[in-house]
């Protein structure tokens, strides 16, 4: 039980007073970020990343990942109390959560949401603890063809597993690769797509893209929808908590199923959002009273349990491919990966060999962070909910200013603030036209390394694409990627055939 020993050592790292303090700050900031419109897990972490440049990497990742856990918890608060999903993965939580709140059962819904989030995260962390050393050990044998095949699988999964139109997913992804190519070619040093502009020499920083695409665009969208925040009281009584806890074991199958869906979707980069919808859909289909799901008369607690468990499980397990392979499973994991590079750590299997303190300190901190987060949200829901009563005309410009500060601090460049605004407008249009943003961000992050792996693999084979089928491992990865990629096209064709006959 090597993992248990490593984990105990990890707790030793995570439990230092400094790290626990950072964890607390991270959680509270994270919940705030989750509650506020325009700030989410990905861009919240991106904005704060520059502040951690001077911290030890382990402390930095503990704080930033805690922000992520906080944001996952925070999303549920606004969904249930205000019918406003603070985060995209909490959309499914509004279906039953908000009707419950309107029937004066907000306390139950919130308790159920937080508890399920906690359980989802806990199961995913167990998976992370025991599966990641195995995957990392496996990945140590990876060469460029295998690495490229994993990247290919990641990107094909976006096409095959999301509900967005496949060609829009591809266009969005290719735009990301194109942006990643701008600047100096990492292999030969040739300048690409710079057109003599000095600002373009260093290429596009994905942190800027994240702040614009997820932050600015979100504020534009919130204003367009003309949100007015009206909502119930978020106070949770201890009686309600205990009563809900007695009720929750009834939904253990839903919890387990949703955790499994979440872990799977997090590792294969489907992400937390589709995982939450899928878990909700499954819970509804398996239920004895599917009609009550999302109804205003008899909303179901189970309809809160399923999406929250899955979202939190997916959010947590998205770290597995990020740590073991260097391929993030979600935009927020991508930002954390960017952090690793900035702190001078090379993500991938060698982390588990060379940076044991870092990896296991992080994993231990996930256990602790979720316990702390659970207690914090349960105790302070009304305070967090009160933030939404601050008028939007104060929140919006403040967040815009914070985004601008965040964009500037990435590399102390005013040009980056202009880029942030442009990315914001692009993100807004893309969201409305159903061009997914996650593949765009991941392509910017992984573009250079995917290309490098591809070129090295091609170099070794003398330009023969057969290298991606040259052995069982790389062959099955590539074949799986292609199968996932063509799936939406086949299923479309099949529906068309069926409707024709």
């Amino acid at each position: 039980m090597q993992e248990i020993q490593s984990l105990i050592a990890g707790f030793g790292v995570a439990l230092s007073a400094y790290n626990v303090l950072l964890m607390l700050i991270g959680i509270v900031l994270g919940v705030l970020i989750g509650v506020l419109p325009g700030l989410g897990g990905a861009n919240g972490v991106a904005i704060l990343l520059p502040l951690t440049f001077s911290m030890p990497p382990t402390s930095a990742i503990i704080m930033l990942s805690s922000i992520y856990w906080g944001a996952l918890f925070g999303g549920a608060i606004t969904s249930i109390l205000f019918n406003i999903p603070g985060e995209p993965w909490s959309v499914a939580t509004t279906f039953d959560g908000y009707p419950l709140a309107q029937k004066n059962r907000a306390g139950e819904a919130l308790t159920a949401a937080f508890t399920s989030s906690f359980i989802g995260a806990f199961i995913a962390t167990l998976v992370l603890t025991f599966l990641s050393p195995v995957v990392a050990g496996f990945a140590l044998k990876f060469g460029p063809p295998e690495y490229f095949a994993v990247c290919l699988l990641t990107f094909c999964a976006f096409v095959g597993m999301s509900h967005d139109p496949p060609f829009k997913t591809i266009a969005s992804m290719m735009l990301g690769f194109g942006l990643a190519a701008v600047g100096q070619d990492s292999v030969t040093g040739t300048l690409r797509l710079t057109f003599g502009q000095t600002e373009l020499l260093k290429g596009f920083d994905f942190l800027i893209a994240v702040i614009g695409l997820f932050g600015i665009s979100e504020i534009i969208q919130t204003l367009e929808e003309g949100l007015s925040f009206r909502g119930g009281n978020g106070k949770i009584k201890l009686d309600t908590v205990l009563k809900t806890w007695r009720e929750l074991p009834r939904y253990w199958i839903t919890s387990l199923r949703s955790s499994a869906v979440g872990c799977f979707m997090g590792i294969v980069p489907g992400g937390a959002t589709p995982a939450s919808f899928m878990a909700y859909g499954l819970a509804k289909r398996m239920s004895k009273k599917p009609k009550d799901f999302g109804s205003t008369q008899n909303p179901q607690i189970e309809g809160v349990v399923a999406p929250e468990t899955a979202a939190h499980a997916a959010g947590t397990s998205a770290l597995l491919p990020m740590l073991t392979l260097g391929v993030p499973g979600s935009p927020t994991a991508a930002v954390l990966l960017g952090g690793l590079l900035i702190w001078g750590l090379q993500p991938g299997p060698m982390l588990f060999v060379e940076q044991k303190d870092f990896v296991w300190g992080l994993i231990a901190s996930i256990y602790l962070g979720n316990i702390v987060g659970f207690i914090v949200v349960l105790a302070f829901v009304p305070q967090f909910a009160a933030i939404l009563r601050i008028p939007f005309s104060i929140i919006a410009p403040s967040i815009l200013a914070i985004c601008a500060v965040g964009a500037f601090t990435v590399s102390t460049s005013i040009f980056d603030i202009y880029m942030m605004l442009i990315f914001g407008i692009v993100g807004y249009i893309f969201k409305k036209l159903k061009y997914p943003l996650a593949p765009l961000v991941l392509a910017i992050v992984l573009g250079d390394r995917t290309e490098e792996a591809f070129r090295q693999a091609m170099l070794s084979s003398g330009g023969n694409l057969g290298v991606f089928f040259s052995n069982g491992l790389v062959g099955s990865l590539t074949a799986l990627a292609i199968a996932i990629f063509v799936w939406p096209f086949i299923s479309q064709a099949m529906t068309r055939l069926k409707s024709a006959t």
């Binding site: 410009p397 601008a404 102390t412 249009i429």
Partner: protein
């Protein structure tokens, strides 16, 4: 998912159709694809003795971008719904512009008057124009938020942000 504004009569006529946005987006992405292909060919997209050239990978990215944009373009034109469906109603468009214009001015102004003064002005504008707050409420908030940012970044994290003439006058640069 959204609760719309109440009270004021809103202009729900379309300001722009989904089709126009879809086609313009696809066309722009197609053009970017062409740029990628052209630039890749310029620096060489083939093989040399040292292996693949710098344009080798982006060349194919450009091709995929062009193909997928073409499909999206054709789909937008062939789908009859996109012509009538509004991307934005006029009311929404005016809301979006009321945010985008001051934000653009804010972003441009940062280079000239510094981020703190620009933020204060942005917050003041939003609160007074959109929030209809009296100046007695607006001023303290508009000044205190940049002040907090100043303390946080300049003093605590020692991370200098863009500053302008006001900071020079106060001698904090």
């Amino acid at each position: 998912m959204s609760s719309h504004d109440q009270g004021e009569a809103t202009d729900d006529r379309s300001a722009a159709s989904v089709r126009s946005l879809e086609t313009v987006t696809a066309a722009v992405l197609f053009a970017l694809g062409v740029v990628l292909i052209a630039d890749s060919l310029r620096i060489g997209a083939g093989w040399t003795d040292e292996g693949p050239q710098s344009g080798y990978f982006p060349f194919y990215i450009g091709i995929f971008l062009c193909i997928s944009s073409l499909v999206n373009f054709v789909r937008a034109i062939r789908d009859p719904e996109t012509a009538t469906e509004a991307f934005l109603t006029r009311h929404q468009a005016s809301m979006v512009m009321s945010l985008l214009l001051p934000t653009t001015i804010f972003v441009v102004a940062i280079g000239f008057i510094g981020i703190y003064v620009a933020s204060a002005l942005l917050i003041a504008w939003f609160m007074h124009q959109l929030g209809k707050f009296p100046w007695s409420h607006t001023a303290p908030i508009a000044i205190s938020i940049p002040a907090v940012l100043f303390c946080l970044f300049e003093l605590w994290f020692k991370m200098p942000l863009p500053k302008g003439p006001l900071e020079q006058l106060l001698g904090v640069v």
